[in-house]
C-alpha cells in the first residue's frame, strides 16, 4: 500500500495573504473584505511578510531545501468560491522542496490564498468572502506512508510542530484539510477535501479496504462522505488537471536571503521531537511521558520552567502528566485554555518535594489553581494544610473515627485489612488531609 498526502494549513497571521483585511476576527459573513480579496477590477495583491516568513519557517522545520528566490503563479479555474476565478499560488519554484519529516519525504511546500467559503442552504448557495485570501500552506508528501495509521501519527507530529512554530490557528481540527493519494494493488485514487485528522484516517481506512476487494483499474478522483463513512467516485482521471499556470504578474520575485534564512532559523524553537529526545536522555523520563509532555508546547514550557526553579525532573513530570493533564482532560481542555500561573505551580511542587504537604492536599490545591490563581504558600499556612507530624492530633482523630464506625472496625478485627483504607479516608477528611496516609494506617492498626 502506498499513500501520499497534500495537507493544507491555514496560517494564523494578523492579516490576509495579499491584503490588509484581518485574518482572524468577526464571523459576521463578508465583514472582513476589501477590493482585493473580493477580486474587484483594479485591485492588486501585496504579499504579507508575516505569512511569507511563517511559510519559510515551516519549510525549514520540514527539512526542506529553501529556494533563494521564489515567485507566485496564477492557477486558473472557474469556481464560485474563487474571487478572481484564479488562485494566486506557487508552481515552478515554491518556498521549499525535498524535505524529510518523521521519516516521510516532503516533495514541496508552497504558499497560496484560500478561496471564499460556500455555504449551501437548501436550493441556494451563499458565499462568505471572510475566508477569501487567508494564507494557506500546502505541504505535499512523497507516497511514503504504508498505512492510514502512519498518516495519523505523522499528522499528529506535524500539528505539534506547527503549534511549536506558532503558525497554526487551531480553532478546531477541521482547519487541517487534506487530499490523499492511495493505491493498494491497482491504479492511484485521489480522495479530495477531507477535513480533520480523524476523518483523514477514516477515509484512508475505508479506501484501503475498498481497494483490497475491488481492483482499481483506472486513476480516479473520489470524495469522502463523512456521514456515510464512504468514499464515492467523482470522476475518472484521463489526464492531469490543466490549470494553465502563468507567472503572477502583479508580484515580483521574492528573495530569501541568507540573512533572512539565518534570522528565521534562530526564531525556530526547539521542536517537540527534539525535546522528547532530550527529556529521555537528560531527565531519564520514559518514552511515553517524554512524548506526552513535549507534544504540548505550553506543557513543555511549564515543565522546563519548574525544573529551572529547582523541582526534580521526575517529580515535575509525574505531577504535570498524571495530575495536571488528568484534571484538564477531564474537562476536555488543554493547558492553553486555562490561565495557570507558572510560579504558583512551582510553589506547589516545591511543597510536595520538601514533603510539606500530602499528595491529597496537593491535588486539591492544584485543582483550585486551575480555576483561579492564589498564593499557595499563604493558603497552606492560613488553612493549616502542612503535614502533621504531631501524632497526638492524628491519634485523636483516629479515636473519633473508630468510635463512629464500629461496624468497619469489626471487619478489620476479622482480618479485612482493606477496610482500613476506608477508615483512613475518614481520618483524612477530619484532618483536611494533612496527615500522611502511612502514619494514619499505623496508628489505626495500633488502636484497633
Amino acid at each position: 500500500m502506498k499513500i501520499g498526502i497534500e495537507v493544507h494549513v491555514q496560517l494564523n497571521t494578523k492579516s490576509k495573504l495579499f491584503c490588509s483585511c484581518s485574518n482572524l476576527g468577526s464571523d459576521e459573513p463578508n465583514s472582513r473584505t476589501c477590493a482585493t480579496c473580493l477580486g474587484h477590477p483594479g485591485s492588486k495583491p501585496a504579499l504579507n511578510k508575516e505569512a511569507f516568513e511563517k511559510a519559510i519557517k515551516v519549510a525549514i522545520a520540514l527539512g526542506c531545501k529553501i529556494n533563494n528566490k521564489t515567485f507566485f503563479s496564477r492557477k486558473s479555474y472557474f469556481y464560485p468560491d474563487l474571487a478572481k476565478n484564479f488562485q494566486i499560488s506557487q508552481y515552478e519554484i515554491p518556498v521549499g522542496l525535498d524535505g524529510k519529516f518523521e521519516g516521510i519525504g516532503i516533495r514541496r511546500l508552497h504558499l497560496e490564498e484560500d478561496p471564499a467559503a460556500l455555504i449551501h442552504k437548501g436550493n441556494t448557495c451563499l458565499i462568505d468572502y471572510n475566508r477569501s485570501g487567508t494564507p494557506l500552506i500546502e505541504i505535499v508528501t512523497e507516497p511514503d506512508f504504508k498505512s492510514p495509521n502512519d498518516v495519523r501519527l505523522f499528522l499528529r507530529k506535524m500539528i505539534t510542530m506547527l503549534t511549536y512554530l506558532d503558525v497554526y490557528y487551531r480553532k478546531e481540527e477541521s482547519t487541517l484539510k487534506a487530499d490523499a493519494n492511495i493505491s493498494v494493488h491497482g491504479e492511484r485514487v485521489e480522495i479530495k477535501n477531507i477535513n480533520g485528522l480523524k476523518e483523514i484516517e477514516r477515509a484512508l481506512e475505508y479506501e484501503a479496504k475498498r481497494q483490497e476487494t475491488e481492483l482499481q483499474e483506472q486513476q480516479e478522483t473520489r470524495g469522502w462522505d463523512s456521514e456515510k463513512g464512504k468514499t464515492y467516485s467523482m470522476r475518472v482521471k484521463e489526464s492531469e488537471d490543466d490549470y494553465g499556470y502563468i507567472f503572477e504578474p502583479d508580484l515580483p520575485l521574492f528573495e530569501i536571503s541568507k540573512e533572512l534564512l539565518e534570522k528565521l532559523k534562530k526564531e525556530i524553537p526547539e521542536l517537540g521531537a527534539d525535546k522528547s529526545k532530550r527529556y529521555r536522555k537528560d531527565y531519564k523520563l520514559d518514552e511515553q511521558t517524554a512524548e506526552v509532555i513535549s507534544n504540548d508546547i505550553n506543557l513543555a514550557e511549564l515543565y522546563e520552567y519548574t525544573i529551572e526553579k529547582g523541582i526534580k525532573a521526575e517529580l515535575a513530570a509525574k505531577w504535570l502528566r498524571r495530575d495536571l493533564l488528568g484534571f484538564l482532560s477531564y474537562d476536555d481542555k488543554e493547558l492553553k485554555d486555562v490561565s495557570l500561573n507558572q510560579d504558583s505551580i512551582v510553589d506547589l511542587l516545591k511543597l510536595i518535594q520538601e514533603n510539606k504537604i500530602t499528595d491529597e492536599v496537593a491535588r486539591k490545591l492544584l485543582l483550585d489553581l486551575i480555576k483561579e490563581d492564589f498564593d499557595v504558600k499563604k493558603r497552606v499556612k492560613k488553612e493549616k494544610l502542612e503535614i502533621i507530624f504531631d501524632e497526638g492530633i492524628l491519634e485523636k482523630a483516629c479515636r473519633e473515627v473508630i468510635k463512629e464506625n464500629s461496624d468497619a472496625v469489626e471487619k478489620v478485627k476479622k482480618g479485612d485489612e482493606k477496610v482500613l483504607n476506608f477508615l483512613m479516608g475518614h481520618v483524612m477528611k477530619k484532618t483536611k488531609g494533612v496527615g500522611r496516609p502511612d502514619v494514619i494506617i499505623r496508628i489505626l492498626k495500633r488502636l484497633i
Partner: protein, 450 residues
C-alpha cells in the same frame, strides 16, 4: 496657454477654476454628441472645482483631467470600455487619481477606449471615438477618447491614458498630440483595470510634451499597493546621441521621409530580434495574461448579470457570451490556448524567455545611444471603412513599431511632427529605463507647435 501657465494663473487667482471647469464640461458634452470621447462626464467636477477655487493649491491646481475608462475613479462608472462592467462604480480610487486630486487636479470624466485595451483603433467597444481632424477616421487606440479629446478641446487639459502594447503612442500619433508612456513600474497600477499586468503602464496624453511631463511628475513613484512599482532617479536629461531604428523605416514612404527629415542626419541601428519577434512575443504574453484577468467577470459580484439559472459554468458562459466583444473572446481563447499544458512551453514560456532577450537587445544599444527613434505608426489614421476590411492579423500588425518598447518596459514618447494628407504623423522617441527626462527634453525640441 499650456498647463504650467494655466496652473500659475489659478494659483495667482487670475483664473476662475469654477468658470473654467464649467466651460470644459459644457464643451465636452457638446463635442461628445458627435465624437464619442467620453463614456462618462463627471457630475461632481463643479463641486470639486469650488473646493479648489477656495484654496488654489497644488502642482496641478484646477487642471481639468480626463481619465481613460480603465482607470478606477471611486464612485464614477469605470468599465474599461466593456459592457460587462456596465454600471460598475469602483469602491477604490486608483493611486494616480489620489495623487492628481491631492495636487488640485479635477477629474472631468472617463474617456472611451477599446474594451479592456484590446485594439489599435478604439473600434472594439460600444462607444467609438472619431478622429478630431476627420470624423470618418479612427482616433487610434486603445486610448482613443483620451487622444481625440485632447486634440479637439479648446481648453487646457491633460488626459490620463494607458498603454499595454502601444495604446498611448498610437492614438497620440493619429490625433497629433503628445503621448508619454513611462517606464514600466514608475507609475502605480493600483486601481488600473488590468489588460496584461506585466505590460500595463499608465501614462499621459497632452497637447504638448511639457504638459505630459508636468502630470508625469505628479503621478510617478513607488506605491505600496502596487508591488511592481518603483522609485527612480530621473535627473539625467543630457541627450548626446540618438539613432534611428533601421527596421522601423519599412513604412509608408512619406511618413519615412517626414521622420528622417525631422531627426536630421543620425546613425541607423538595427534591432533584429525586436523586428522579427516582438509582435508575436507581445501578443502571446498579453493574451495569456488577459485571459486570466478577464476570468473574474462572471456576472457574480459586480457588473452585468443575468437571471441565475443553470449551474455555475452555464451561468457565467451565458454572461460572458453576451457582454464581451468578439475581440475579447478571441483574446481569451488564444490566451488560454497559449498557456494550456502541452502548449505552454512552446508559446507562453518561450515568449517569456524571448522577452528577456529582447530587453537585452535594447539595453545593448542604450549603452551607446540615449534615444532611439522611429515613426510611431506605419500609417496615418485610417478610415473606419478601411479598418473594417482588416483581418485580425492585419489589425495586430498595426502595433509592429510600438510593441517593442512596451514589451521591454521602456519609456517612449510620441510627438507630432507633421502631416500626411492633412492627417498627423507621429515620431516615437524610445529611451532606456527611467530616461523620461531625456525623452521629454528631446521631444520638446522636435515636436510641432501650433
Amino acid at each position: 496657454m499650456n498647463v504650467e501657465e494655466y496652473v500659475t494663473g489659478v494659483r495667482k487667482g487670475e483664473i476662475s477654476v469654477k468658470e473654467n471647469i464649467k466651460k470644459i464640461l459644457n464643451e465636452a458634452k457638446k463635442i461628445n454628441k458627435e465624437y464619442n470621447y467620453f463614456n462618462v462626464i463627471s457630475d461632481d467636477a463643479l463641486t470639486k472645482a469650488e473646493e479648489v477655487e477656495k484654496n488654489r493649491k497644488g502642482k496641478l491646481a484646477g487642471l481639468p483631467i480626463s481619465v481613460k475608462d480603465c482607470v478606477c475613479v471611486k464612485g464614477m462608472e469605470s468599465r474599461a470600455g466593456s459592457l460587462i462592467l456596465k454600471g460598475y462604480k469602483p469602491v477604490i480610487n486608483a493611486t494616480v487619481i489620489e495623487r492628481l486630486e491631492k495636487e488640485g487636479a479635477i477629474i472631468i470624466g472617463k474617456t472611451s477606449q477599446d474594451e479592456f485595451g484590446f485594439g489599435s483603433f478604439s473600434t472594439n467597444t460600444d462607444n467609438i471615438p472619431k478622429n478630431p481632424l476627420d470624423k470618418m477616421r479612427s482616433c487610434g487606440g486603445s486610448s482613443g477618447g483620451a487622444a481625440g479629446f485632447t486634440r479637439k478641446t479648446e481648453n487646457v487639459h491633460a488626459a490620463i491614458a494607458e498603454s499595454t502594447g502601444g495604446s498611448i503612442a498610437c492614438p497620440a500619433s493619429f490625433c497629433g498630440v503628445a503621448g508619454l508612456t513611462p517606464t514600466y513600474g514608475v507609475v502605480s497600477r493600483y486601481g488600473l483595470i488590468d489588460y496584461a499586468n506585466s505590460l500595463d503602464k499608465i501614462g499621459i496624453i497632452g497637447k504638448n510634451v511639457k504638459d505630459t511631463k508636468l502630470v508625469f511628475d505628479v503621478i510617478k513613484g513607488k506605491d505600496e499597493r502596487d508591488s511592481t512599482s518603483v522609485d527612480a532617479d530621473f535627473k539625467d536629461s543630457k541627450v548626446k546621441k540618438i539613432a534611428v531604428i533601421k527596421e522601423s523605416l519599412n513604412v509608408d514612404k512619406e511618413i519615412k521621409e517626414i521622420v528622417l527629415s525631422k531627426v536630421g542626419k543620425v546613425e541607423q541601428v538595427s534591432l533584429p530580434l525586436v523586428s522579427k519577434y516582438a509582435l508575436s512575443c507581445y501578443y502571446l504574453i498579453s493574451m495569456s495574461e488577459a485571459s486570466t484577468n478577464l476570468a473574474k467577470y462572471c456576472g457574480l459580484r459586480y457588473g452585468e448579470s443575468l437571471e441565475l439559472n443553470g449551474n455555475f459554468n452555464e451561468y457565467f458562459s451565458k454572461v460572458r457570451s453576451k457582454f464581451f466583444t468578439k475581440e475579447s473572446k478571441r483574446r481569451i481563447i488564444l490566451g488560454t490556448f497559449a498557456r494550456m499544458s502541452g502548449f505552454r512551453d512552446a508559446y507562453y514560456l518561450r515568449a517569456m524567455k524571448l522577452r528577456t532577450l529582447i530587453i537585452e537587445e535594447y539595453k545593448k544599444l542604450f549603452r551607446e545611444y540615449d534615444i532611439l527613434v522611429s515613426p510611431t505608426m506605419p500609417i496615418v489614421a485610417p478610415k473606419f471603412s478601411d479598418i473594417k476590411k482588416l483581418s485580425p492579423m492585419e489589425n495586430y500588425m498595426m502595433d509592429i513599431l510600438t510593441v517593442g518598447p512596451n514589451l521591454a518596459g521602456l519609456p517612449h514618447l510620441s510627438v507630432n511632427i507633421g502631416t500626411k494628407d492633412k492627417m498627423p504623423v507621429g515620431l516615437m522617441l524610445i529611451g532606456d529605463h527611467f530616461a523620461e527626462e531625456k525623452l521629454t527634453v528631446k521631444g520638446e525640441e522636435l515636436e510641432n507647435r501650433d
